[in-house]
Symmetry: C2
Subunit: 405 residues, 2 copies
């Protein structure tokens, strides 16, 4: 298994590209629409927000993916196409424009939007943009897609990985955008995956759900679950491996590769959370079950008090115990151990639910780094899990006190 510098156009047979079609204010000169295209039909699967308020493109794409196939993605940023009078029409118009321009069926288009809720998409500009962009797609275009879907992201998120399936080298690529309105369960707004592996639609769906469970579904920036969250995967089979049709060794290899790739994305999304100064990982072990470990890890990573303490590089472990205590996870306060680790070292601050005398300067040095792991051991149980998040800084407030205008 090998992590590559790459993205959605790294697997064989995929092209992509982006364009500026004036959804973002024109003076920003930033691209705001991207297309990913496979030269052959793909099996496909998706996971979507469970928010009851759902963007029009989420509703449409869920319908399009019901048959387990797709061949292209069209995604825009800046406007979420949610809670608008013409949302369903414009989402459909976007899919139809992409289908026309690429010579595909409308039902084979994945559409997605991210941005401000309640604003309408400038549908003519989007249609023109798609018509102009479609003939220009190319095999190095994945990077442009990663950039076009950014909103308050400060860096693009893209990666690829290779694994061997039935003797053939298969590649998986992904682009994602995140930053704000991110909670556990689809902790992302948009992520698109491509692969040249041959895998049936149902096995692809199962692989997607399995890999997302411990990665995208364990990311939290601010506890707000977006109305637009969309994670998709398209597999075009051009790697030439024997199609994966059951949960065999190849399926497991594919899931493992996808999990490694998505873990990278989860960390990237968390580290670039709005206003974040550091990546925070909460690893809980010794829980009575994996479910309890997940609940505890998520609660730690979501706590504003834990997040602000980490922003201040303050080893305030009491807030961590507090967050576990109200999480609902099974736990005995008398057996909890808490430590912090980073490239600067490792320090245990709480044992058996009680303070351990610590050198506060050393603790601060460990926390004053770009990536901190909070390690919690709840007891003797087999359950373990990791959640991905970030600290809560002045800039989160700044960004969100004035994002819309």
């Amino acid at each position: 298994m090998k992590i590559l510098k790459g993205n959605v156009t790294t697997p064989r047979g995929f092209t992509g590209g982006a364009i500026c079609c004036s959804i973002k204010p024109t003076n920003t000169r930033r691209t705001d629409l991207g297309i990913i295209y496979s030269e052959v039909p793909c099996t496909a699967a998706g996971i979507f927000t469970t928010n009851k308020v759902q963007a029009a493109p989420v509703k449409l794409t869920r319908k399009h993916l019901a048959n387990g196939r797709a061949q292209a993605v069209a995604a825009n940023s800046y406007v979420a196409n949610t809670c608008t009078p013409d949302g369903d029409e414009t989402a459909l118009a976007m899919a139809e424009a992409a289908a026309d321009a690429l010579g595909l069926e409308t039902a084979d288009i994945i559409v997605a939007s991210t941005g401000v809720i309640g604003r309408s998409l400038p549908v003519d500009a989007v249609k023109d943009g798609i018509a102009t962009l479609a003939p220009q797609l190319h095999v190095d275009g994945g990077d442009a897609v990663a950039k076009a879907i950014m909103t308050t992201d400060t860096v693009d998120k893209q990666a690829a990985i290779q694994c061997t399936l039935g003797g053939k080298t298969c590649t998986i690529g992904v682009v994602a955008k995140g930053s704000g309105m991110i909670d556990i369960q689809m902790g992302t707004m948009l992520a698109f995956t491509t692969t040249d592996a041959a895998i049936s639609a149902s096995m692809l769906d199962a692989a997607l759900r399995t890999a997302a469970e411990t990665t995208f579904n364990m990311v939290c920036v601010d506890g707000d679950m977006s109305t637009n969250d969309t994670l998709t995967i398209m597999a075009n089979g051009l790697a030439g491996n024997t199609e994966i049709r059951e949960k065999n060794a190849d399926w497991q290899t594919f899931v493992d590769a996808l999990t490694v790739l998505y873990t990278e994305m989860a960390k990237a999304l968390a580290a670039d959370g709005e206003g974040a100064t550091k990546l925070v990982m909460a690893t809980v072990s010794g829980a009575v079950s994996e479910k309890d470990a997940r609940i505890a890890a998520k609660s730690i990573i979501r706590s504003d008090l834990v997040k602000t303490a980490l922003f201040g590089s303050d080893a305030n472990w009491g807030r961590i115990l507090c967050a576990i205590g109200y999480s609902g996870a099974a736990m005995d306060p008398e057996t909890v151990e808490v430590s912090f680790s980073s490239e600067a070292g490792d320090i245990t601050v709480c044992q058996a639910g009680r303070a351990v005398p610590v050198d506060e300067d050393r603790a601060t040095a460990i926390l004053d780094t770009k990536a901190v792991t909070i390690r919690v051991c709840l007891g003797e149980g087999p359950g373990k899990a990791t959640a991905y998040g970030c600290d809560l800084s002045y800039d989160y407030v700044k960004i969100n006190g004035d994002y819309r205008s």
Copy 2:
């Protein structure tokens, strides 16, 4: 029913006072221990944090109140007496010291602590403080208690109310402290109530739970439920009313008065949330049930994205719909109406789940005030509820990035 300027020593027969016993750094010269005392035994009831990590005084006081009686409160700030090796001993020593000094049984003492988790109480200083303070308690001492229990609070919280029970004027008084680590369900760290009404322990308990449900249990500052949350009430019967022993008209009058009093406290706690620049109330109506209304109102008030938008006086209603959508409350996005109101006016920003054209300057003027109500109508249902919270400002981050040290 009449709201009074008053507090826990306003009802007949209660005295109080506070002292500086060096739990807080001595250079702050701030009081850190308060006592409330009734000259006669009281029926009593309490509600406590449901966090699995519980402060030693919470565990002790729950035990002491099991018999439905108490006669005094001893409470300290700055150190939470949670997750310390000697927590149970020091909580008991605090109760014993108060019992000795006041000539009461230890089991009749309510003890409570608030402050940093993981630090031990300086038990000798606390015992000396109690011994010195006890002989000095007086009928104007409630104000001093309100101040002694403050941590990051910027203003003290105290109020009283009068109602007529069986022809007798009864008074209820309360002091509370809040500010941070405050979530729905016991949205407070400490609140102590006194009354001269005559009411049986079981009716007092029922009244306390009923009144808390729509008040303290609907306050959220940061979504972190404290390990020390304690709300108690003591009733000494000196008003001379016929003792309330069943849910009769007098009981309802008492509950109504208590609810009005606690609503004032809920607003005061929310308005003084850490770093808050404004009180935010979320009123949800038209829900299919009261429970759904509460779930939706709580989700709005907890959302960091809603809170930061309000800090920026940005009428970003999409975030409100988003927060309702992921709350779990039954809702139809197509029937939601959202408006904002304050002393500066009233403006509807969303109807039938869609944007309404609004004058953004006017919206900003309405939001740029000290108290804003978010009014949401979900549909035609009978359920309604109000939650109390605040905005999320730079100062929340500042306070909590460096609270402990």
